[in-house]
């Protein structure tokens, strides 16, 4: 019987990792991810997993060790936040370039400077072009479910790419919710055994990982990587279908909330989507055709599906919890505007909000929808990029 328990995001992710029982975990503590490492260490200490835990001396080494373990044919995981992810940057591209199916929960936290331990998405947005699949989670249940699905996505023969699973620092990582956990053996069967095509430990069939490509080969290998990304959406959908069968919970590339007939809509990631749903409900009861698109798969970007989900909307506001410092808005905005470029209809605006853990409240989101109503009526956009909830 699946059981409902009240736990935090970090506890849920650690629990998912216990059930996944990876062969190797190498990790390093950083707020707000630290608890994941601590809780998992107790599982190791109590013999609840067969994992070899490598308590490395840095995140650079954490991901490096996980790359080694994965190349050695192990199911391998790490987890991090913010500065830790930044320190991994070099190895992120190595993991994807070597096509290693590593799964890494990331608890979103702002990047220094100024140093700040609270939530925004500047850490994982900085890694958006690293070739990793990126999946965002609204709440504790989704974080748990996504980590489990990520293993199947990463290891799928059409994908063989590393996957990051995101949740918001403190808001979700330390927020307690009632979630339904799967049975251990259900998870075990769902992910199955990992059988890599090549392994460093297959000493009778020695292979070289990480060879040097000159200009005569590098481009072809990178092109293959792009090709693999193009197949990710399909795998995400089929894994979600299998997951629905064991959990009853349905996932897609994104969630459409009251979007079918929406005239105005917000696009958002992670926990803020939950707050937006509240506002959409209130507006709907006042007869306003408001909706939400909550993106789940952000990399690779499911552009065709997003386009068909948004094409009928008159005015769209993209909420970004990170800036690109390009003066052209946040990363999600840039992508959504790109997707919608050929559509003459929708007007699109951007709100950058919540940096360094600044709360976003119902009033602020209401104000966004008020702006959208004006834009939908007049067809006119004032400033395309607005900073929300900041002292100017």
């Amino acid at each position: 019987m699946p059981k409902a328990v009240a736990i935090t995001g970090n506890e849920a992710v650690a629990e998912a990792m216990r059930q996944l029982n990876p062969d190797v975990v190498a990790a390093y503590p950083i707020t707000p991810q630290t608890e994941i490492v601590q809780i998992f260490s107790t599982f190791v200490a109590d013999g609840l997993v067969h994992t070899e835990f490598v308590p490395v001396e840095s995140e650079h080494s954490a991901l490096s060790a996980v790359v080694g373990a994965s190349a050695a044919g192990a199911r391998a995981m790490t987890a991090t936040s913010s500065q830790g992810l930044a320190l991994m940057w070099e190895v992120l591209n190595i993991a994807s370039g070597m096509r290693l199916p590593i799964v890494m929960p990331v608890v979103n936290r702002a990047l220094s400077a100024p140093i700040n331990i609270h939530c925004d998405h500047s850490d994982t947005m900085g890694a958006r072009d690293s070739g990793w699949v990126q999946i965002y989670s609204e709440n504790v249940q989704e974080a748990y479910d996504n980590v489990i699905q990520a293993v199947r996505i990463a290891e799928h023969p059409d994908v063989r790419l590393p996957v990051m699973v995101m949740m918001d620092g403190f808001i979700i990582s330390h927020g307690m919710e009632t979630v339904t956990l799967l049975e251990d053996d259900v998870v075990k069967r769902f992910v199955g055994e990992y059988r890599p095509e090549h392994s460093l430990l297959d000493v009778d069939h020695p292979v070289t990982f990480g060879a040097l490509d000159f200009a005569d080969w590098y481009f072809e290998h990178k092109r293959q990587e792009s090709d693999a990304e193009a197949g990710v959406s399909q795998v995400v959908i089929s894994v979600a279908e299998d997951f629905a069968r064991i959990s009853g919970r349905r996932y897609g590339l994104f969630e459409e909330y009251m979007l079918d007939d929406a005239e105005i809509a917000v696009v958002a990631l992670n926990s803020t989507a939950g707050t937006v749903k509240e506002v959409v409900d209130a507006l709907r009861s006042d007869g306003v055709k408001a909706g939400l698109l909550k993106l789940r798969l952000f990399r690779p970007f499911p552009h065709r599906d997003v386009l068909s989900a948004l094409r009928h909307v008159k005015a769209i506001a993209v909420l970004d919890r990170a800036d690109t410092y390009s003066t052209m808005g946040g990363p999600l905005f840039i992508d959504i505007r790109n997707v919608m470029y050929d559509m003459p209809g929708p007007r699109i605006v951007n709100y950058i909000y919540g940096l360094g853990g600044r709360d976003i409240d119902l009033d602020e989101i209401n104000k966004v929808f008020e702006d959208l109503k004006d834009i939908a009526t007049t067809g006119k956009v004032g400033a395309p990029v607005t900073y929300l909830g900041v002292r100017e």
Binding site: G68, A72, I94, L201, D202, T208, G210, D213
Partner: protein, 309 residues
């Protein structure tokens, strides 16, 4: 101890046909080191001359399983490989005996990979780490490292009119690794094949981490004739610039004591990178280098419980 004949009959795990320069010491060091292995070995290599010259896609000179990840993380990478092995072995998914070897140049070991190395040694992974120390960043065109000796000209410490080569002495990494308290640490070089193979054999045999520092020439960086590669290393030993010793479970032991300690200029004068020191203006640096070698040699003798020479 294996005979040369026996070693010659063993498989070549690092084959010829790679693209290292003629006379390069690095592949010689690794070819010999792999002869010391009695079980299959998984090799990790840091970015550097050895890696780039042996793994040019679609070719590889390695007949062992091999991984290159980045410049500074070979110790962490092999930590992960070894952890995977322990995990899969414990689960009964593997039952072979396999050894793990991490290899880095001096740049990848003394400098940028030092943290990763120190961490891996402290965690006690069952691996051998070999540094092929050619005393500079050769792959990027002979820049100084913390292994570059005092006075050597490199492209970032060129012999100029006011700065005569590298102003600092080299870091004693072998001693630093010994201070980690790991079961086996050794220093050797390619001119002493027997010493090298014996030490790497011991390094593989111990349970837990072992570190072997191998002086290896770079004919371009050292400005030597390719045919002199082995001889220059022999003189490094004879002058006590590069003593051969090991530290086994904390016990220091000299493995070779030169019959007669030659002056260090015998070593310096064979290499173009020290040429500028043999001028009136710079001759005092030769004295400094000799004084430094003498002091370190005496210190080593004391550690090894040997009388002074």
């Amino acid at each position: 101890m294996a005979t040369l004949r026996e070693l010659a009959q063993k498989d070549e795990l690092l084959t010829g046909g790679h693209r290292a320069c003629a006379g390069c010491g690095a592949p010689v060091a690794l070819r010999m080191a792999l002869k010391a292995a009695d079980t299959p070995v998984v090799v990790g290599c840091a970015t550097g001359c050895l890696e780039v010259t042996t793994t040019i896609y679609p070719y590889t000179a390695w007949k062992t399983p091999f991984i290159h990840s980045a410049f500074e993380n070979v110790a962490a990478t092999i930590s992960g490989v070894e952890a995977a092995y322990r995990s899969l072995k414990r689960q009964g998914k593997i039952n072979r005996e396999i050894q793990f070897l991490a290899v880095g140049g001096d740049g990848g070991t003394y400098d940028i990979g030092f943290q990763s190395l120190s961490g891996a040694m402290e965690r006690g992974h069952d691996m051998v780490y070999i540094c092929y120390d050619n005393q500079a960043y050769m792959n990027t065109g002979i820049q100084r490292s913390s292994a570059t000796p005092l006075g050597a000209a490199t492209t970032t410490t060129p012999a100029g009119t006011v700065m005569p080569g590298k102003p600092q002495t080299r870091k004693d990494l072998t001693a630093i690794m010994a201070a980690h308290g790991i079961p086996y640490v050794a220093q050797t070089t390619i001119s002493h094949w027997n010493d090298l193979v014996t030490k790497v054999k011991k390094a593989f045999a111990v349970k837990g981490p072992a570190f072997v520092n191998i002086l290896a020439t770079c004919r371009l960086g050292w400005q030597i004739h390719p045919a002199d590669s082995i001889e220059v290393c022999r003189v490094a030993v004879d002058t006590c610039f590069w003593p051969l010793f090991e530290v086994e479970n904390g016990k220091w032991r000299l493995t070779h004591k030169p019959r007669e300690k030659k002056p260090v200029v015998e070593w310096l004068k064979r290499q173009g990178r020290f040429k500028h020191l043999f001028t009136d203006q710079n001759r005092h640096i030769l004295d400094e280098i000799q004084a430094d070698v003498d002091r370190k040699w005496e210190e080593l003798l004391r550690r090894c419980g040997e009388g002074s020479s």
